[in-house]
């Protein structure tokens, strides 16, 4: 990734602050997306994303380039998100009401004849890993390889999760009256 190279070069040149200024916009969506895929709560995901960037800012001068920048950032994000999940220990469903309301207000997509809210509910009902894979894959037109890197899983495992998720979504939507052949 060219942005990663530029950021790494800045860090190695001892310009951690400048590197950080580039890193935040380059990784915001990925860090937030990954945090959200684990936490399923927009507010909590934003808090975790902030925490991750603060950690990165603190650790950036010590980054030695041995691991890929993205791998390093994803590992920090995953760990921070998992710690946050443990802290929360919510017994109720962690589906984010704010996102759900936002999606519901959009209503059905006229061109597709498919209800966004129904699709969102179906995504939310997927098993954790499948939901994570779907959220990350479709969030920013990512490749399966990138999603695998973000989730810390082998590429084939992510492919399986995506395949199963698509099948589950099609089945769920078929039940809801939307025909997927």
């Amino acid at each position: 990734m060219p942005a990663d190279d530029a950021i790494t070069e800045l860090i190695q040149a001892g310009r951690a602050e400048a590197a950080f200024e580039r890193l935040v916009p380059a990784y915001r969506r990925r860090v937030f997306g990954l945090a959200y895929s684990v936490l399923r709560d927009r507010g909590a995901a934003e808090d975790v994303a902030q925490e991750v960037f603060v950690k990165l800012w603190q650790a950036l001068p010590r980054y030695d380039g041995r691991a890929q920048l993205s791998t390093w950032i994803y590992a920090i994000t995953r760990n921070t998100a998992i710690s946050a999940t443990r802290r929360q220990r919510r017994s109720i469903s962690m589906s984010d009401p704010t996102v759900f309301e936002e999606v519901e207000s959009r209503g059905a997509a006229p061109e597709a004849g498919l209800d966004d809210a129904a699709l969102w509910r179906s995504v939310e009902a997927l098993p954790d890993k499948q939901r994570q894979a779907v959220t990350l894959y479709y969030q920013e037109e990512r490749t399966v390889e990138e999603v695998a890197g973000m989730m810390g899983l082998p590429v084939n495992t992510v492919k399986t999760h995506l395949h199963r998720a698509r099948a589950s979504l099609a089945a769920a939507l078929k039940t809801a009256g939307w025909e997927v052949a």
Partner: protein, 133 residues
């Protein structure tokens, strides 16, 4: 993906539309930059982090040192016990060795003992060297 069913394609497109725009709220970058700027001004977290790391490192060093001393004391204790037993039961051991079916080579016995002591001392010195780093 190219030979995908039209309905599946529609589902893919819908998922992209639904999740594609998913992002942190507006002003997120600014808030992060403000937060780190505040931290940079106070300098507390970095100093805290350094101090925390140093404390942890010191704790590990102390544990390793204690472990090395305990190992050393244990080995010396066992050695002393073995020596005392040998001293105490020397005649019996001598008698046993004399009556044994196989001949005991004193030189071999001494070499074996020296090798065992040497190995123990080498192990101790190695541990001391690691912990003093």
């Amino acid at each position: 993906m190219n030979d995908m069913d039209p309905r599946q394609k529609e589902l893919e497109a819908q998922l992209r539309r639904l999740l594609g725009s998913f992002d942190a709220s507006a002003g997120f970058d600014k808030r992060v930059m403000q937060r780190v700027a505040t931290l940079a001004t106070t300098g507390a977290p970095r100093a805290d982090l350094r101090a925390q790391l140093e404390r942890r490192r010191e704790l590990v060093r102390w544990r390793l040192r204690r472990e090395a001393w305990m190992n050393g004391i244990t080995i010396l204790g066992l050695g002393a016990c073995a020596a005392a037993l040998l001293w105490r039961f020397a005649p019996e051991i001598q008698q046993l060795a004399a009556s044994a079916a196989w001949p005991v080579d004193r030189g071999l016995l001494a070499a074996g003992t020296l090798a065992a002591v040497g190995a123990a001392v080498w192990f101790l010195l190695k541990r001391m060297e690691t912990t003093s780093r």
